[in-house]
């Protein structure tokens, strides 16, 4: 907190106030451990992800960021070599230890991966896919939602005349926005994004970042990124990971401007 200067002394009281009224968590991770054989990928992770904020997971390659993200919506299921223990609470539901309806829990979280993976159907059907899974049958309602979500990600104007062409005809930046719209259409509470701009050109990256800044009003966002400037621009909360452990976390000012650990200091020197 020593980044606060004298000119805004009033705000000195603020952290204490925040500490008193603990921010509401959207995701609560308790004692999460992930092993792959003898390799301890995630080492006793305890983390509260605040609601309607952007949490950025930062760290060198192979530090477990992506695995952490995949644990959040149980995509670790696809990999038998991953031995997952601990709890991930989404509200009251522990997604890792329950026999809850996993597809329904996953619908609470939109996923944006490193590279866009549009479904092998038309642009329209890509966005409608999740709605149909939810059981929405009303065609007008589906069409309305598709339009709204495409507008939300700034893609509508570019695709409104070719909604029924293949999603493969879009540029990679457009595909990534389509994937975002598709995820938003199922009305998630949380957006999980794994280096969402790493495969994109600078213009598309900027658009995606802008969308995230708007979306955080309504959604809890967790982003994995390598780009420190992006972390600075987007984050409300930065989590720095190193070899499967959380080393530091806090506001971007506190973590990025005033690193405490040697690992983070080294990472910041190399990164900027």
């Amino acid at each position: 907190m020593n980044t606060l200067t004298a000119k805004n002394t009033d705000t000195l009281m603020e952290p204490r106030a925040i500490r008193k009224t603990k921010p509401e968590s959207a995701i609560s991770i308790k004692n999460l451990n992930v092993h792959a054989g003898s390799h301890h990928i995630l080492n006793n992770i305890n983390l509260e992800i605040p609601k309607n904020k952007v949490t950025v997971l930062l760290g060198p390659s192979g530090c477990g960021k992506t695995t952490l993200l995949k644990s959040l919506n149980k995509l670790t299921d696809l990999y038998k070599e991953l031995d997952v223990s601990g709890s991930v609470f989404i509200g009251k539901d522990d997604i890792l230890n329950s026999n809850h309806n996993i597809p329904a829990l996953r619908q609470k979280m939109g996923l944006l991966s490193q590279k866009p993976y549009p479904l092998p159907v038309s642009i329209f059907k890509n966005v409608a896919y999740g709605l149909k899974l939810k059981g929405v049958k009303d065609k007008k309602l589906i069409a309305y939602n598709v339009e709204q979500k495409l507008k939300e990600v700034g893609l509508w104007e570019e695709v409104k005349d070719r909604l029924h062409s293949s999603a493969d005809s879009l540029s990679i930046g457009q595909q990534q926005r389509l994937c975002l719209a598709r995820g938003l259409a199922v009305k998630p509470q949380i957006i999980l994004a794994d280096e969402p701009t790493s495969a994109l050109d600078p213009v598309s990256s900027k658009i995606i970042e802008e969308r995230f800044r708007e979306l955080k009003k309504y959604y809890t966002i967790v982003i994995v990124t390598h780009i420190l400037r992006q972390a600075q621009r987007l984050a409300d909360n930065v989590v720095f990971m190193h070899y499967g452990k959380i080393i530091e976390q806090g506001t971007p000012e506190a973590v990025l401007k005033n690193p405490q650990s040697s690992q983070l200091k080294e990472y910041l020197v190399d990164g900027f």
Partner: protein, 284 residues
């Protein structure tokens, strides 16, 4: 040094080129022989008429019985192979995706089944037929050939499915699909052209195989009207005619071989067209 590299490059280009084009040349030569020898016998009668009484001694008629019989058997067996094979291949690539060892074991077993000679399937089908109290019939032929080609459908469709990036499955799952929904709505669609190739391969094997139908489907000069009647097939028709001492009958064997080749060609071209049309939304 540079010169040596250039010579090396040239030698390799010639060697690989020769390997490639000589194979194409051999294929062309086979087709040429078949059409050349069978051309004079390749009449309309050949494809529209059943063999008459003295057909195998040079009398009138055609091989319509074998054409229809072959289409019935290959079609029926391919249908069964699709019904069994498509869900199996999807299962390997969706539900089994986290069980790599089981996945590999299943693949190994299917590969072994693929490699089993068709006469073994014929013998197995024959045993099964006796055990069930059936006689040589269309149904027995279809079932035996289905055994022969189901591993082909599964493994070649599986090969296509395994190239689909796991990210696509993750995307579908994260939208709330179950594994089965992901398999049938996403994997099947994305792998469809691979499925068509798999079906083609299987159909080609089914329609061209003689050993598996030798004991099980029997042979007849009539078109079967029922599943429990015997059925003629083109490969056996070729075999019987080719072993004749009469040159005119041997010529007809080549004509029958040409017909078999043409059927496979027609199915191959139309299926590829269909696959291309259906997979136009696929992600490349």
């Amino acid at each position: 040094m540079q010169k040596r590299k250039t010579i090396e490059e040239r030698v390799f280009r010639i060697l690989t080129g020769v390997a490639c084009y000589s194979l194409i040349g051999i294929l062309g030569y086979i087709i040429f022989i078949i059409f050349n020898k069978g051309f004079s016998s390749l009449t309309l009668d050949m494809v529209t008429k059943l063999p008459s009484g003295g057909y195998y001694y040079g009398g009138e008629g055609g091989v319509l019985n074998a054409i229809v019989g072959s289409l019935y058997i290959a079609g029926g067996a391919t249908l069964i192979a699709i019904i069994l094979g498509v869900p199996a291949a999807l299962y390997i690539n969706s539900h089994l995706i986290r069980y790599k060892r089981t996945q590999n074991t299943v693949r190994y077993i299917l590969d072994s089944l693929w490699g089993v000679p068709s006469i073994v399937y014929g013998a197995f089908g024959f045993t099964l037929m006796i055990w069930l109290g059936m006689s040589a019939s269309l149904l027995a032929g279809i079932i035996t050939v289905a055994f022969l080609i189901t591993p082909i459908v599964i493994r070649s469709f599986d090969e296509a499915l395994s190239t689909i990036p796991i990210g696509l499955q993750e995307a579908a799952l994260s939208l709330g699909s179950t594994k089965s929904q992901t398999a049938f709505k996403v994997l099947l669609k994305q792998g469809f052209s691979g499925l068509v190739t798999a079906i083609l391969l299987a159909f080609g094997r089914a329609i061209g195989d003689a050993a598996s139908v030798l004991f099980t489907a029997g042979y007849t000069d009539l078109i079967p009207t029922n599943l429990d009647e015997p059925a003629a097939t083109l490969p056996l028709s070729i075999f019987f005619q080719l072993s004749s001492p009469i040159p005119a009958v041997r010529e007809r064997a080549y004509a029958a071989a040409a017909i078999l080749t043409i059927i496979i060609l027609i199915i191959s071209i139309s299926a590829r067209y269909f696959a291309k049309h259906y997979s136009k939304e696929n992600i490349k």
